[in-house]
Symmetry: C2
Amino acid sequence: MPRSNTEKYADMLRKQGLKVTPQRLELISLLTRLKEPMSAHEIKAKWKQGDIDTVTLYRALDALVDAGIVQRVDLQHGHTDYELLVPGEHHHHLVCTDCGTIEDFVGCPGKNMEKLALKSSSQFVSLREHSLEFFGTCKTCAV
Amino acid sequence: MPRSNTEKYADMLRKQGLKVTPQRLELISLLTRLKEPMSAHEIKAKWKQGDIDTVTLYRALDALVDAGIVQRVDLQHGHTDYELLVPGEHHHHLVCTDCGTIEDFVGCPGKNMEKLALKSSSQFVSLREHSLEFFGTCKTCAV
DNA sequence: CTTGCAAATGCAATAGTATTGCGTTTATAA
DNA sequence: TTATAAACGCAATACTATTGCATTTGCAAG
Ligand SMILES: [Mn+2]
Ligand SMILES: [Mn+2]
Ligand SMILES: [Zn+2]
Ligand SMILES: [Zn+2]
């Protein structure tokens, strides 16, 4: 990972009063190379520099989520998956319920949906986030 | 619960080759009265006829999901919540991250979103379901 | 109404996911 | 260089959900 990106993420951490540690840097570096969201255990299995304690990994993931670097995703796998968040963007996923194939969906009309949701709501005045995942069958599995 | 509704759900179970048991009927009856999605443990705590074994409850919930009577919801509570599904409809939720207030959102433009998602996809040709939940702050907590 | 049997139940054990407490180590700012 | 709050690693524990198996039961066939 180029130095500029590393420094960008380091700043995002420090901005939240969080420390920049070797573990957190390797975690970011690892997530940068992933093409799909991954569970804590899968991440742990991919760890290069020796090993990382499971607790430390979960706490590092929490820290990155707090800093807005990582987002949690629920793909109905029975656990939380994590992926790097591109700043200023957001995206969702298409999941094949047969083979597990995952594809990103980037054209989410989030603002419109939130407007719609707020208009129909009697109790809410502002929305900060939303989860959205699609489940279906990919070309390969459709036969 | 009126007899007609009970019979309707019983038929939905039998149609899937699933049996109609006292536990499943009480579970449906209990879910009918709920205004919010609930976890397995919360449902167990509300059980009236004596007690239900946790395993039986999970298996009954699975059965109702298979029969299309119940849907699973992830409200980022660290567990699965369950709620009765109105046949032919679907809805999502607004969740207050401060106090936990939950409000239904019924005006989901699901068909359009799926069309949008499929158009942008290179690997998928059909989508069956989607998850969508909004997270924000309710009027009471906004101050 | 009886009977046969696959499906469902209850209990015990276990798996999988995530968190807490605490003593030691380390990043960072003074 | 030093002080200190944050982070780390390890052990224990909590919480969520599932598996295996002996027993019971829904329900359809006769
Ligand atoms: Mn993604
Ligand atoms: Mn609801
Ligand atoms: Zn597939
Ligand atoms: Zn609130």
